[in-house]
Amino acid sequence: MLTVNLIVFKIYFSGGVYYLDGMVNSNFPPLMIELSEKFPPSNDVCFKPLQIEDNTVFIFYLKSAIDGAKLHDMLIKPFFEMKSNQSFTFYIESLPNLTNMQYGEELLIEITKGYVLLAINDAFYLIDIKLVNSMALQQTIIEPTVYGPQTALSEDIEKNLNIIRHRYHEPTLKFDTHALKGKSHKSVIIMYDEKTVKQSVLQNIIEKIENLDSPLIQSTGELQLHLNGSKFSLFPITILTERPDRISYNLAAGKVIIMLNGSPQAIIAPVVFFDFMVSMEDNYHTFWITTFTLILRYIGLFICFVLPAMYVAITSFTPDIPRTELALTVAGSRVGVPYPSFIEVIFMLIFMEFLTEASIRLPKAISATATTVGGLILGTAITEATLASNIMIIIVSAVAITSFVIPISEMSFSIRICRYLLVIYTTLFGMIGLILGSLGLLMYLVNKRSFGVPYLKMYWQGDRKEIEVRSKG
């Protein structure tokens, strides 16, 4: 029979003096003493020896970061069942969660992440038994599809890696771990298929991540903003996605995926403009359905961008462009509207933005009321009061609907802003402003680069050498 003789030491540090509970053991490993000095006195810092007969080991961990039951099953119980320290060492060395030993500042960070530091004689081991409570897989909310996988990523990076591994069975799939410099010390994982990735892009991304210098980055959305480079950029140069199928699809296309611990979205880089117009649903339908929906989206994009400015150009500058009947209808519906068309357009567009913004922010139960009041009642009342023409209401609703057709919402936000710029340019210059303003935006997009890859250009199918990073996805 074994005689259990467990003594628990707790070290409190205050004002430079150590108070030790219980017996003082002079054999404490110096590294652990040093560590306990570095942690401020906190109730969840645990530092204790395990002893049975002549065998003593020491463990150091943060109670709040680790899984207590796992610690018991994996370390404490086996220790008391082992014959000697030597067999316990062999046992520890065979554990799958054993990681490379770190020293200095990094060791501290690892311990806050949920690692246990174990000292057997003079050897140290770092064992991962962290407890993450947000491991549950989430439903796809941002990019829902009718067919295709319905679960998204989780908030735990290990689990996400597991999901991707099981979706993308290629031996060349590689995970690189980097740690962010700031206070969050989050681990960033850069994921790519070594066979298809473009090396220059990869280097560019790694460099940017290593040079990041921001105190606290909490989510991939934030990380994406920092990767963007310029402060005042209008269009996203990466895609945020929650869909594992989109991730594996892009991995196959040679893109780089960036994941952050604690964030249920991954960053895809580099991207081209056309990527924002693709929904994963496209892969699950037949060719003609896909083509049709794709064309529909581009028409939506065009309408949502051009229609308000076109209304200004046609009503205020060149009413003779549309056929006579249409011109008369437009003019007739504007009878009684007390201000020029551009005020009408901006006024109505801004009201629509209020409506969209309100229905996004409100709880679901109330948002239906907001849309009814805003959309139906305001729309009718405004035309009856002739503050806006009927046609304007149609245009505003068309614009609102079409802007939701763009599958990735970041792009739809960017287009929403560009719309105002185009309205202003058209208000200043008329029809020529409309044409040249659109060309100007096109030029801005063409001149943009996402990690060295042209943002918008004609990617010809089959022209492999020129494509390198395939579009789509």
Binding site: R323, Y425, I432, L436, L442, M443
Partner: protein, 364 residues
């Protein structure tokens, strides 16, 4: 041959299809236009091919780089200055023509200055973008606009009001001896390819331009020249055609699309061609800016690690473009354009001679 060279040629063809070239041709419609056009086609195509093939000896180099490497300053400075001014003038003529056209037919209540400003604001941004982006932009715009332009041209060709008898009348003048004016004007539409003086650095020309390329360019040229000259005659008659200021606008206005939202073809026509003209302007001024930059680099104009020389040049571009067109009317513009087109052989001569000198000096 890289597809971008075809784009350059196409942009110039399309831009000049409805601008001042048809007007110059029609003013002398009984003075040997047909023979001039045939001659111009041979002249234009062969010079295009010669220039492209000469640039093959200098892979990934711009003209300033080539000349600076092989010749001394007293030679390359005036040559580059001449080219820079020519390209700027080419852009300015396109700009003024289209501003005049747009103001005459679409927004007649807007002042010239405003329409010019609408161009200049966007162009100034365009001049600052990367050279590769100019190439991509050209491609994107052509892919978007060309199908619609082709559709409209087919629409015009198939219109029942197009009277082929007038065309036949015009054809009877085939035996008249060519005139220099019409010859230079119709050669001008082939000038697109010379833009590789700058873009050669970003274009990879793999193969020597041969029979296939000659055939493609010639076919495009024949189609453009035929369309630009004979179609307005077919619609408006041969007799009074020389009195039209913008014969192509009048022509496209004869065609209606009965069931379309925009009934009069001419509006879509002008809008689309303005888009392509913008690209032509962008390319011309971009080349001009790069040429100016290569000879004028002010070291003193340094501000926060940025050299402001190019901004200064762009400002000058804009100032000239705002003030010069105010002094000019359609008739004078036509005279200036004619003068500019007449200088074309000199332009080609200087370009080819300087390339040959560089080739000999570099022993390629």
């Amino acid at each position: 041959m890289s597809r971008y060279i075809y784009y350059f040629i196409l942009v110039t063809l399309v831009t000049n299809l409805i601008a001042s070239v048809p007007r110059i041709l029609m003013r002398d419609s009984d003075d040997g236009v047909i023979q001039s056009m045939i001659l111009a086609m041979f002249f234009g195509v062969s010079l295009t091919i010669i220039v492209i093939n000469l640039f093959r000896y200098f892979p990934n180099m711009t003209l300033p780089e080539i000349l600076k490497k092989s010749t001394s300053k007293w030679f390359y400075f005036p040559v580059l200055l001449y080219f820079a001014c020519s390209w700027y003038a080419a852009g300015l003529i396109t700009l003024t023509t289209y501003v005049l056209m747009f103001n005459t037919f679409l927004s007649f209540e807007t002042s010239m200055i405003f329409t010019t400003l609408a161009f200049l604001l966007i162009i100034s941004f365009g001049l600052l973008i990367k050279a590769k982006s100019v190439l991509y932009m050209t491609e994107v715009v052509l892919i978007m606009f060309l199908p619609v332009i082709l559709f409209l041209i087919i629409k015009i060709y198939t219109d029942p009001k197009l009277d082929w008898d007038f065309v036949k009348v015009a054809m009877t003048y085939i035996n008249v001896f060519p005139s220099y004016k019409t010859f230079s004007a119709s050669s001008y539409i082939f000038i697109g390819a010379v833009n590789i003086v700058i873009f050669n650095k970003y274009i990879k020309i793999k193969k020597k331009a041969g029979i296939k390329q000659i055939a493609i360019i010639s076919l495009m040229g024949i189609f453009t020249l035929f369309t630009t000259y004979f179609i307005p005659i077919g619609f408006n008659g041969f007799e009074q055609i020389e009195n039209l200021t913008f014969p192509w606008i009048t022509t496209s206005d004869s065609v209606r699309m009965k069931y379309s939202i925009i009934e009069r073809v001419t509006f879509i026509f002008v809008i689309l061609f303005t888009g392509v003209a913008f690209i032509s302007l962008l390319i011309h001024w971009y080349v001009s800016l790069k040429l100016f930059e290569s000879i004028f680099h002010f070291k003193k104009l340094q501000w926060k690690n940025k050299n402001l020389s190019s901004y200064l040049i762009i400002l000058l571009f804009n100032l000239i473009a705002v003030f010069l067109p105010r002094q000019i009317n359609e008739f004078e513009l036509l005279k200036v354009s004619k003068l500019f087109y007449n200088l074309l052989p000199i332009f080609y001569g200087v370009l080819i001679v300087s390339l040959l000198i560089a080739k000999r000096r570099l022993k390629l």
